[in-house]
C-alpha cells in the first residue's frame, strides 16, 4: 500500500466529503496543506483576512445549503476566524474550519504562533477536534462534516498540528465513524403531532412563526403548502425570511424590534403560536412576560434545548422541521376532513385588515434620498431573484422590511450575533456558490469598512459581487438609539467622510459610482448589475432617517415607536 502525507490525506478526505471550494489564508504550519492543495482540483479562494474566509464559508453555506469550508494557520490565523465561527454558531450554519497547529511535541509550551484554538472555540462550535494521531485524521474529517451538516447544523473546527500534516499514512486507510453520543431526532413523535393538530383545530386565532430552521431543513415548500391549506398567517424571524414568500397574502413579515406592526399585533392577539425552527430571540419577543400572553405554543425544533428555553411550551415536538411539517400537514388534512376545524375566518380577516391599515411606511420627502426607496428599487430591478446579503445596522432592517424575499436562501444576514463586516465576505461566498445569480451586499458605510480588504479577493478571483452602500455618515443604528433614548448625544457615531468609497473600490480594481438624487437610483442599480466586476454604489441617503417601527429594548412588542 502506498503512503501519503497527512496533508494529502486531508485533501483526499475533503474531496470525499464533497468539498468544492475552500476559503483560506496560509501560514507556517499549514504550508504542508497548501502544498497538497497545489495538486488538487479543489478551488481555493485566497482571502485577505481570515475573518473574511469564515464569513465567506458561511455565506456559501447559507446560500447553497452545502457545508462551507475555511482554513487558517495557527495562532493569529486561527483567532482571526473566531468572529466568523461565532457568527455561524449563533445562526446554526454548517461550516468546517480547519486550522493548523504547532507540532504535537511543543503543544502547551507557548510555541511560536501557538493558540489553544480548541479551548477558545469550545463555546462557539458544535464540536471541535485537536488531532493528536495521524490515524484519527480520516475519521475526524468524516465526523466533522457529518456533525456540521446534520441535526441542528453548526460550525465544527479541526485543529491539525503540523507534524500530523507532514506525517505519513496508508493511502487506503479507511475512516471509521463512531458517534455514540450523537443521534439527532428527525421524526416528530406521532402522538405529539396528533396533540398539535387538536390544538390547531381548537384555536380561533392561530399564527405560524417560522425561522431559519425551516430553511435549513429544506421545509420551505411544505410550510407554504401547510399555510395555504390551513390559511394560517405566517410570521417569520429575520433568518426565516424567504422561507415563506413575502408576496404571499398570508405572510405577515418579520416580527420584533423592527418587525411590522401587524406581525407584532398578531403575536399579541394570537391564541396559538405554531413555532417552527425558531428560538424566540429577545429581538423578536421583546419583554418576555408580555409576549403572546394569551397564546398556547406548539414548538417544533430539532434541538430539544431550544424548546422551553425562553418561553413556556404546551406541545413540544422534537424533530426536523420538514419532516414534522409534512406529518402535521397530513394529520391536519385528515382531521379537517373528519371532524372539521374551528372557524378561523374572522381572525384571518382581521389580520388581513391589520396588514392593510398598519402597512410599513416612510416619508418620501421630496429632495431627499430615502433608503427604503432604494431597496424597493433593488427589489423591482432584481425581480426578487437575487441573493441579498447585508451587513448589520439600519440598512439591514430596511432590507428585511422593504425587499420582498420569495425564496429560501435568498437573504444572507447575520441574525444572532449581529456581525458588522459579515455581509461583503458572505456575498463573496454566496457568489462562488451561485455563479449564475446576482449577489448584492446591501451595506452600511460603517460595516463595509470592517472587511473592506476583501475587495481585493473579489477582484482577483473575478467574483463580481455588487455592493450598495446606504451611506448616512453614521453608525446609524447606534445613532438612532442615541436619538431616541440618550438625548441625541451622538457620542462617537458620526463617521462622515471616512473615505471616498468610489475611489476606494477603484483603487482595488472594481468600479464605483455615487448617487445623491432619487432620480439616479434606478439607472445606477441597473448599470451596477450590468457590469461584470466588483461594483460599489455609494448612495448618500438622508442622514438621520430612522428605522420604524421600533420597539424599545425591554418593552412589550405592541409598544412601538412609529413613523409619523
Amino acid at each position: 500500500m502506498g503512503k501519503i502525507t497527512g496533508a494529502q490525506m486531508l485533501i483526499k478526505c475533503l474531496k470525499e466529503a464533497g468539498v468544492e471550494v475552500i476559503f483560506g489564508f496560509p501560514g507556517g504550519v499549514v504550508i504542508p496543506i497548501y502544498d497538497a492543495l497545489y495538486d488538487s482540483d479543489i478551488r481555493h479562494i485566497l482571502v485577505r483576512h481570515e475573518q473574511g474566509a469564515a464569513h465567506a464559508a458561511d455565506g456559501y453555506a447559507r446560500s447553497t445549503g452545502k457545508t462551507g469550508v475555511c482554513m487558517a494557520t495557527s495562532g493569529p490565523g486561527a483567532t482571526n476566524l473566531i468572529t466568523g465561527i461565532a457568527n455561524a454558531y449563533m445562526d446554526s450554519i454548517p461550516i468546517v474550519a480547519i486550522t493548523g497547529q504547532v507540532s504535537t511535541h511543543v503543544i502547551g509550551t507557548d510555541a511560536f504562533q501557538e493558540a489553544d484554538i480548541t479551548g477558545i472555540t469550545a463555546p462557539i462550535t458544535k464540536h471541535n477536534y485537536l488531532i493528536k494521531d495521524i490515524k484519527e485524521l480520516p475519521s475526524v474529517i468524516k465526523e466533522a462534516f457529518y456533525i456540521a451538516f446534520t441535526g441542528r447544523p453548526g460550525p465544527v473546527l479541526i485543529d491539525i498540528p503540523v507534524d500530523i500534516s507532514k506525517g505519513h499514512i496508508d493511502e487506503n486507510f479507511k475512516p471509521e465513524i463512531a458517534l455514540e453520543g450523537y443521534k439527532p431526532t428527525y421524526k416528530g413523535n406521532p402522538r405529539q403531532i396528533i396533540q398539535a393538530v387538536k390544538k390547531i383545530q381548537e384555536s380561533k386565532r392561530p399564527v405560524i412563526f417560522a425561522g431559519g430552521g425551516v430553511t435549513s431543513s429544506g421545509g420551505s415548500s411544505v410550510l407554504t403548502e401547510f399555510a395555504q391549506l390551513s390559511k394560517i398567517p405566517v410570521i417569520t424571524s429575520l433568518t426565516g425570511k424567504g422561507t415563506f414568500p413575502d408576496t404571499n397574502s398570508l405572510c405577515l413579515g418579520m416580527a420584533g424590534m423592527h418587525g411590522t406592526k401587524y406581525a407584532n399585533l398578531a403575536f399579541t392577539e394570537t391564541d396559538l403560536i405554531i413555532a417552527v425552527g425558531v428560538r424566540f430571540d429577545d429581538r423578536v419577543t421583546g419583554k418576555l412576560s408580555e409576549f403572546a400572553k394569551n397564546a398556547g405554543v406548539i414548538h417544533i425544533d430539532i434541538d430539544p434545548a431550544e424548546i422551553g428555553k425562553n418561553i413556556k411550551v404546551d406541545i413540544p415536538i422534537v424533530g426536523d422541521a420538514k419532516s414534522v411539517l409534512s406529518d402535521l400537514k397530513l394529520k391536519y388534512e385528515e382531521t379537517a376532513a373528519k371532524t372539521g376545524i374551528t372557524d378561523q375566518k374572522p381572525w384571518i380577516e382581521h389580520v388581513m385588515e391589520l396588514k392593510k391599515t398598519c402597512a410599513l411606511k416612510y416619508n418620501d420627502t421630496p429632495g431627499t434620498l430615502k433608503p427604503a426607496y432604494i431597496i424597493e428599487k433593488i427589489y423591482e430591478i432584481t425581480k426578487g431573484d437575487a441573493i441579498i446579503c447585508t451587513e448589520v445596522g439600519q440598512h439591514q432592517m430596511w432590507t428585511a422590511q422593504y425587499y420582498k424575499f420569495t425564496k429560501p436562501r435568498t437573504l444572507v444576514s447575520s441574525g444572532g450575533l449581529g456581525t458588522m463586516g459579515f455581509g461583503f465576505p458572505a456575498a463573496i461566498g454566496a457568489k462562488v456558490g451561485n455563479p449564475e445569480k446576482t449577489v448584492i451586499d446591501i451595506a452600511g458605510d460603517g460595516s463595509i469598512q470592517m472587511n473592506v480588504q476583501e475587495f481585493a479577493t473579489a477582484v482577483a478571483n473575478k467574483i463580481p459581487v455588487k455592493i450598495m452602500v446606504l451611506n448616512n455618515g453614521y453608525l446609524g443604528m447606534v445613532r438612532q438609539w442615541q436619538e431616541f433614548f440618550w438625548n441625541k448625544r451622538y457620542s462617537h457615531t458620526n463617521i462622515e467622510g471616512s473615505v471616498d468609497f468610489v475611489k476606494l473600490v477603484e483603487a482595488y480594481g472594481g468600479q464605483g459610482f455615487r448617487v445623491k438624487e432619487k432620480s439616479e437610483v434606478e439607472a445606477a442599480i441597473k448599470e451596477a448589475l450590468a457590469i461584470d466586476n466588483l461594483v460599489l454604489v455609494d448612495f448618500w441617503i438622508d442622514r438621520e432617517e430612522n428605522v420604524y417601527p421600533m420597539v424599545p429594548a425591554g418593552s412589550a412588542i405592541d409598544q412601538m415607536i412609529e413613523c409619523d
Partner: protein, 162 residues
Amino acid sequence: MSSNHIISVLVENKSGVLAKIAGLFSRRGFNIESLAVGTTDDEKISRITLVVKAETHSIEQIVKQLHKLINVLKIQELDPSNIVERELVLIKVNSDNNTRAEILEIANIFRASIVDVAKKSLVIEITGTSRKVDGIEELLKPFGILELVRTGKIAITRGAKK
C-alpha cells in the same frame, strides 16, 4: 427555589471532554459544588458526578445543553431518595497527648480510620454521606482542623437497574 442536584454523566474518555463539560456550567452561570471523575468498567468511558445548586428549570436547560456535547453518552439526574451516595474525606487535625484520646473516640463513633499519626497531628479518613462528613467535621473543629480534602460526591442507584 434552588437546591442541590446530583447529575451523573457518562462520557467518552477523551482529552478535553471534562473541560467542555465544566466550561458549559460556568458559561451558563452555574457553580459546580462538587465534581468527581473516573473511568467506568469500560475504560473508554468515564463517569462524571456533579453536584450543582440550581433551580429545577435551569437544571433542565443545562441537562439539555449537556446532551448536545458530542462526547456525552448519557445523563441522569439522580433522585436522592433512591441512591447510595458516598464521599471520601481526609482530615488533618491538631492533636497532642491531651486531646488524642478524645479525637480517637470521635473517630471511632463515626467509624473513621486513623491513617497517619504524628506528634502534633492525626489524619482521619472517613467515607459516608455528606451529612456524616459534615457531622465529624463539626466535632473536630474545636481541636483545630489543619487541612481537609473531599473527593466530591459519587453516587449509584439502588437495585438492579442501570
